[in-house]
Amino acid sequence: MAAQTISEKILSVKCGKSAYAGDVVVCPVDCALGTDASTPMAIDYFEAMGGVRVLNPGRIVFALDHYAPAPSRHTAQLHQRMRHFAASHGILLWDVGEGIGHQLVVESGRALPGGLAVGADSHAVMYGALNAFATGIGSSDLAAIFISGKIWLRVPESIRVTLTGQLPAGVYPKDIALALAKQLGADGAAYRALEFGGPGAAALDLEDRLVLSNLSVEMGAKNGIFAADEKTFAWLNGAAGDPKMADPQTPDTAARYCREVEMDLGHLTPQIALPHGVDRVMEIRESAATTVQMVYLGTCTGGRVRDYRQALAVLKAGGGVAPGVQLVVAPASRTVLETLARDGTLAEFIAMGAVIGTPGCGSCCGTCGSIPGDNVNVISTANRNFKGRMGNGAASIYLASPASCAAAAVRGVVADPREFLA
């Protein structure tokens, strides 16, 4: 058998024959997520397809995360419809306040090494951090999974991203992802897998790998995957899933890559994505002095416990939030919120005047939460900064690491977080 990438290996196991880049395979799905933004349409497609029974309800999960809490009667009714469908078919539903579906999939151990996990939402690529083949799908593909339990996939070519060196103080995985987006462009990995490896990748903790996998789709990638190691299994052992079901896959040394990219983390500096494109990236010191009126800490990219601790360290070192800056804290899950409440982090954010949002997608895509006003500059830990993304096309969104966002909150202007980490 010819040498294979991680993605080729997983899809070969799943479809039951040797598969290589370019092949089209049909595979059973181990885990499929539907959100309140995608599932109502999936139910429509399911019914139009003549669907009666959901084949494997135990492999499907729903999350009410995009409209959390429901900001309109229409969205409240979408939630009602999902609750009813989930109850009738025996599907687990994470209700409003539980958090972002992607975070809950990884917290609950449903994305396993060697597994095939999809989500009807583009940031499902995040589960690749756990060595799952994970990709985003639409509502119609989700409906087909309800009925058949399967999906067809074109096996992607892979881009090998070799990370070397160690991140300097004040530089974070978000900076790696933004630097990579700058290098590859918004479509640089289109239809392809990003396969992360090298000593720099092995040194990253699982929460850090989630950030890189999550942002893979901003370079057009079909999936963004890591090998599994002891850190992966340590995470799974702490999650609710069953790590014994894992079937970890590593790439063959002679695997074929369509492109190889190397990045020395030791030379990386804090990065920032300018409005209105995730690949419009520059070093943060080149953008310093841009005023900001809203600082957003949250989303499936930057709403985990370590993100808030990193942000808080900068805020405390800088003496709190500058006048005229609205600080929004919207944790990725209830578990994250509870952890922040237990260790005192949440109380410190509240004391600094932060607005605390419901665990969920918040205003990342303008579906609920704090919407910025006209001519407001937002700096956010999110993954997208398209015009209008947060619900107002007259606002401008900058993307950066949690520490960089906190530095901007302290100064009221874009600032280098390393100035606060002496």
């Binding site: 933004a37 479509d187 057009g220 398209f386 015009k387 619900g391």
Partner: protein, 161 residues
């Protein structure tokens, strides 16, 4: 099939096609069509004519996987999108709903050009140029031939083994 070209640039994301916030009030394509491209081409929605086709630059439909970005386009009566590359989720969603995605070099197509899509190629009647299109994988051709994933599943009930 004959079309009038409506030209857009590179990296048109799904939020530009239809803003996520518009889905708060309705998912009806006949409602959403009023807001097509509102952030980047506010006059577009009101001026759509029968037989318009979207002609875009690279990476059309990037960003969110939301399928309303396809159904709103179809709701406006647009039946084809031409681009040198698509975001893969948009490409799949288009095929699944019977919106024809054509991968081809769009760099020499201008606003208002009259296009004819024939098998495997786009003929620009305005410039008399023939542009070769990339073939779709067999399974996508089968889904398109059925009229989308709904009629495909009504016929077959499953994917091929």
């Amino acid at each position: 099939m004959r079309f009038r070209a409506r030209v857009f640039g590179d990296d048109i994301n799904t939020d530009y096609i239809i803003a996520s916030r518009r889905k708060r009030d309705s998912l009806d394509p006949q409602v959403l069509r009023q807001y097509l491209f509102e952030e980047i081409a506010p006059q577009f929605a009101a001026g759509i004519q029968a037989e318009d086709a979207i002609v875009a630059g690279k990476n059309f439909g990037c960003g969110s996987a939301m399928e309303a970005a396809v159904t709103a386009v179809l709701g406006a009566g647009i039946r084809a999108v031409l681009a040198p590359s698509f975001a893969r989720t948009y490409y799949r969603n288009a095929v699944n709903n019977g919106l024809l995605p054509v991968i081809c070099d769009t760099s020499r197509i201008r606003e208002g050009d009259q296009l004819r899509i024939v098998s495997g190629a786009v003929y620009n009647e305005t410039t008399s140029e023939t542009i070769v299109a990339e073939p779709l994988p067999q399974i996508m051709r089968a889904i398109i031939a059925a009229g989308g994933l709904v009629p495909y599943f009504r016929q077959h009930g499953d994917f091929p083994a």
